[in-house]
């Protein structure tokens, strides 16, 4: 048994961290927020050039073919700096959908450009408030065309293609591939609490589409989401770790009542609890990475546990780190709120903690 990344993977992590520390300081994130840009193009092309997008895409489709563990390592570093780019939508979700279920023709057509960064993809599944169920999906495919409204769609404005959850003629629902550059797709930017990750509403007025793979199935959608949450969990633990560092650094500098605030037990114990949650999340997230990399039968439970733990850890870390910073933490200029916002966004993007806890309970119940 070996619970750790390999030396090569750790080296990749080191390089990634160094690169992003330099190329993605908070100023980059703020620029996207303040200019209401969709994403930072410079950073996008730098990462594309270095092969980050194709880490888990096989070489025959233009990727570097390293694997999921490498992609997970990259995801954590991207999360640590709140990278304001559509990588997650394009790679964790769109490219992954193709790899998981696409036909050979679909894979050859889209993966190379997704790996190169010249194509941006996303997943469009939500239809307003809540989370879809198999038989409640409103968007539908009739005669090879999608009709309906999807919102919010992460990176919906920048994406060129999307994997869309829509109802099938059989009364079920599944994933369809759609080129968003058709005139029948109308896009509208949506303002959210985390302006560093653009969201949009997409109206499909009879956009031409094809089933992803041989057949669009609900199970296919769920499987994709399960895989996606593992990668997002890495972004979340990266963010949570950054929050812990910030809080510890501040507690070791700031003084009150004649001594460092980090010497007061209220602060110490709070940060110890933060550390503990981070460690639990990291442990569950690593395990889910393994399960993903070997497609283990444990993946559904592992992914769910990773998501719940990572949501919990990042959410707690972001708010308590901000809290430790006192009044300063509440200012626009300090970076605390950037993590606070991102933690909330990642807590909901693929189903809330409550949803995933229900899933865990159901999966456990099947074991009785």
């Amino acid at each position: 048994m070996n619970f750790d990344f390999s030396d090569e993977q750790k080296l990749l992590r080191q390089q990634a961290r160094r690169f992003l520390t330099e190329k993605c300081p908070a100023a980059i994130v703020r620029r996207v927020i303040e200019r209401r840009a969709s994403f930072d193009e410079t950073l996008w092309w730098q990462l594309a050039e270095q092969g980050w997008l194709g880490l888990a895409i096989p070489t025959e489709y233009g990727g570097s073919g390293l694997g999921y563990l490498e992609l997970c390592v990259a995801a954590e570093e991207l999360g640590r700096v709140l990278a304001p780019i559509p990588l997650s939508s394009s790679i964790y979700l769109c490219a992954e959908a193709l790899l998981m279920a696409g036909t050979e023709a679909q894979k050859s057509r889209y993966l190379p450009e997704l790996a190169a960064g010249s194509l941006i993809g996303t997943l469009a599944f939500a239809e307003g408030y809540g989370f879809p169920a198999e038989r409640t999906v409103s968007a539908e495919v009739r005669g090879g065309k999608i009709f309906g409204i999807k919102w919010p769609v992460a990176d919906g404005n920048s994406a060129h293609i999307a994997v869309v959850l829509a109802g099938t003629s059989e009364g079920s629902s599944g994933l369809f591939l759609c080129d968003l550059r058709q005139a029948t797709v109308v896009r509208e930017a949506l303002e959210t609490v985390d302006a560093s990750r653009a969201q949009a509403r997409l109206r499909f007025n009879g956009a031409i589409c094809e089933p992803l793979g041989m057949e669009a199935t609900w199970a296919g959608f769920y499987r994709l989401v399960e895989r996606g949450v593992v990668l997002y969990a890495f972004e979340q633990i990266g963010g949570a770790d950054a929050c812990l560092s910030m809080a510890v650094d501040y507690a070791r500098e700031r003084k009150a009542f004649g001594r460092l605030i980090g010497s007061f037990q209220a602060i110490k114990h709070r940060l110890a609890d933060l550390y503990v949650r981070n460690e639990l999340a990291r442990a569950n997230t690593y395990y889910s990475a393994w399960a993903l990399s070997v497609d283990a039968p444990e993946l559904p439970l592992a992914a769910a546990a990773a998501r719940v733990s990572a949501i919990d850890a990042f959410e707690y870390a972001a708010r308590e780190s901000l809290h430790v910073h006192g009044g300063m933490g509440f200012t626009w200029e300090m970076n605390c709120h950037l993590f606070y916002r991102r933690s909330r966004q990642l807590a909901v993007n693929l189903g809330s903690a409550a949803l995933w806890k229900r899933r865990i309970a159901s999966l456990l119940e099947r074991q009785i």
């Binding site: 048994m1 619970f3 510890v248 010497s263 442990a283 990475a289 309970a361 119940e365 009785i368």
Partner: protein, 406 residues
Amino acid sequence: MDFRDSVEESIFRSEARAWFERMAARFDLATHPGMTFEEQLRLGREFQAEKAAAGYAKPEWSHAHGGRDASAVESVICAEEERRFTFPNKFFAIGLGMPIPIMRRYASAADRERFLGPALRGEEIWCQLFSEPTAGSDLGAVRLRADRNGDKWILNGQKIWTSWAHVADFGTILARSDPSLPKHAGLTFFYVDMKTPGISVRQINQMSGAREFCEVFFTDVRIPDTNRLGEVNGGWRVTVDTLMEERFTLQDPTYGAPPLTVAMKFLRDNVSSEGATGLDDGALRERFAEWYCIEQGLRNIYARMVTALSRGSVPGPEAALTKLVLASKVQAYSAAMIDANGPAGVITVDKEMPGSAGCFCDVWLQSAGMRIAGGTDEILRNTIAERVLLLPAEIRTDKNVAFSDL
């Protein structure tokens, strides 16, 4: 990264599994209901002897010393396989966990020869005499005196919370040898024969009904200087080493509480709650999911520690972190299971069915102590904050003052 057993580990595991399964026929307490304490202890000694003969008593030790040369991962595998049954091993766990490794590190060759074998074989039981009425979390403030008298030391004082002292043959003990020095500087570590005149043991009545913790009184107890472990006034160092050993011990990740799926099954099949099954409660299902995430997280943290150990690293704060999380989780979990059973939840006698309220009542009572023993929640948080996060140490007003002036 790989969570499955390697080929070698699989082979090791099947061997261990087969062995423990063979032993279960004779030694599994589940098949011996209603045994008295003495019967359990006798059975325990027999089992320990079997373990020692097969190299499973301390698998990580070399073959020459009674082990199996097991790696860190293999030791974990042994513990996992043993835990599949309810073996009578509780009497030896502490002794083999901390005092014996310390004897192995600090005792003379003659003493190692004399003591290690019998301990491994269950012929002799060891206890650890650390805490005192005024020194629990503040272990460095122990007062039990060790006064030098020629080639002997005379011990006077009291220890408390000593597990199994009433059946122990020997114990390791931390004593104050020089109160004129600051507290950590005037301590000396010894081992003591529990039959030495002047030692008396009294079991403590724990709230759970169990009585394995004891008070131990020392009145002019004379021990030879050859019983000393480490330097005169160097006892704190040995204590720290002992506490480090604790980091290697494998926690039972359930603290004896029934597994989640067992509890869920009981709720579904035996509990009716306002017309629905006990498992239909959304709030309760959510808590099961949360407890699952904790259990998985702790399992994986342990796996990470084992991986680090197998690469020659020293364990970090995993044991402290695990205990901090687990003790509270078990308290919350057992309380919630009692609650889910309605008014009948507090009935203690119904323990036959796995996952029934009676099982949880015991655990719930024990859990209050689990958050205190072996490092209170607050001490563990301090440890994490100071040693891992490197936050400023607690302001200590007693560090450089002579102990006698405190």
